[in-house]
Symmetry: C2
Subunit: 316 residues, 2 copies
Amino acid sequence: PDAASIAEAKERQMSLTKPPGSLGRLEEMAVFMAGWQRTARPAIARAQALVFAGNHGICAQGVNPFPQEVTVQMVANFEAGGAAINQICRVSGADLAVVALDLDRPTQDFTAGPAMTEAETLDAMRRGAEAVDKGAQVLILGEMGIGNSTIAAALACASFGGAPEEWVGRGTGSDEAGRALKAEVIGRGIALHGGASPLGTLAAFGGREQAAICGAIIEARALRIPVILDGFICTAAAAPLYKADPRFLDHCLVGHQSAEPGHRKLLAAMEQTAILDLGMALGEGSGAGLALGVLRAALECHNGMATFAEAGVSDA
Amino acid sequence: PDAASIAEAKERQMSLTKPPGSLGRLEEMAVFMAGWQRTARPAIARAQALVFAGNHGICAQGVNPFPQEVTVQMVANFEAGGAAINQICRVSGADLAVVALDLDRPTQDFTAGPAMTEAETLDAMRRGAEAVDKGAQVLILGEMGIGNSTIAAALACASFGGAPEEWVGRGTGSDEAGRALKAEVIGRGIALHGGASPLGTLAAFGGREQAAICGAIIEARALRIPVILDGFICTAAAAPLYKADPRFLDHCLVGHQSAEPGHRKLLAAMEQTAILDLGMALGEGSGAGLALGVLRAALECHNGMATFAEAGVSDA
């Protein structure tokens, strides 16, 4: 990020007709955008939302009550405009693209071996990177994949330690027994793959959509496009990147504090504070898409407000 | 609210292509709107934002570092389109109207006597009611008035008890000494006016914008127009109404959890949970205006999403 643009944007915030700091997070977001866009007056002409979808071999362990066919069915629903993320992108003005990653070829069961080979992992990362719109000013990331709340908890646990139980929630439709099963399955995975490198961890637990999210984050970093990560699963997908180097995520915000209990712990570990906390646990980029509305308001205030001098308002 | 529409809206939420409950607060907001609009498919064609402005005799006690002229200057800024609320209303699609209430004639200093007579209080309430757009589907309420964070803390303290210190924050630009002064001033006011009826409390502490907010809330209740209250000062304005009868506020949501420390305590006392928590402390309806964006997204999801049957997605 550009220090001069950040300084100029901060100075502008201090001159606008409001008590300094009274727009809270909105001020921070405007300054953040200024740094990445290298202008004191950042704007969003084009916003992209990318939803990556994948299937997971871990479903063989019975960690999710929904059949894996739901992943492809939901991708069709995204394409037909019927999902929550379609409505949210319309409201917040983002162009939605859905990338289905070999849904007919799930990753391997991570309790038996690595979910993906290193080549498969890098290929999924590359596909994530290629999906990024180089002309976008902000990128919303989301995911869909039956069973992937187990993948998320495993990635978080492998990256930041602690017992699997601390990272596992009910995901989509699991009861307490389902939650215990997920923790037990993750424990077996950690026993098998614990101590792997960041890339090794991503390959070990999968899945393709998690690797694609990592690839898109790195591509956006190179293009200086700020990213809004969604909730628990999307943040956990980026955990191996954070472990590799926290600076990979310098351009990332987190849109929504998930109702999944592991998310709070994960955000603390990754030095992030979510923008929204609306009790949601859907994924699809829904929380990030809603946060885009807040980001747009932050930039409208930053660019559209009068200064004390312009408005003839007495400064304290 | 209409029970049949609520039941039908809840049933629709259960049929949409998402795990039940996974849209959290968005689902609750859609169902809430259904009840007040008496239809299972609520929509917002017209949103109104009302900002009431007033001046306060309590400023004679030095509770605010800004001069009272700032109130009229900020009203001019609202009218010229230069304030935060102007930008936020543009983004979230609300028609903004500003009602300046006798700014050249501040209320009386409440440490010496009642801020307003009963007649003045009722007149300000009536002016608030008259400002409500009868054709709006949602009403955003906000305020502006130098010194009114002291009024807010006094109304909260008088309505719900506790020590003044528990209700007092720094407001706009006060330091720790300023905060202590505010608490001391409020203590003198409570000693003079404590134990008054709800209407008596509103008259005792003022101000006109607080009374106008109460009038607008009651008018909107009669018209079944849902209201989004802003932050600390706007919520505190409604505290006497809540004390008179909590049902006066059945149609109210709170947009933003203020950075003012008293707000959390006030929301608990009034059985409310704010929609957003972005560290803001500005007023003007800014937090309520941002929350309107979330409400719009909630209704878009409610009305625009496909059902499991429509999308051919397997239900668990």
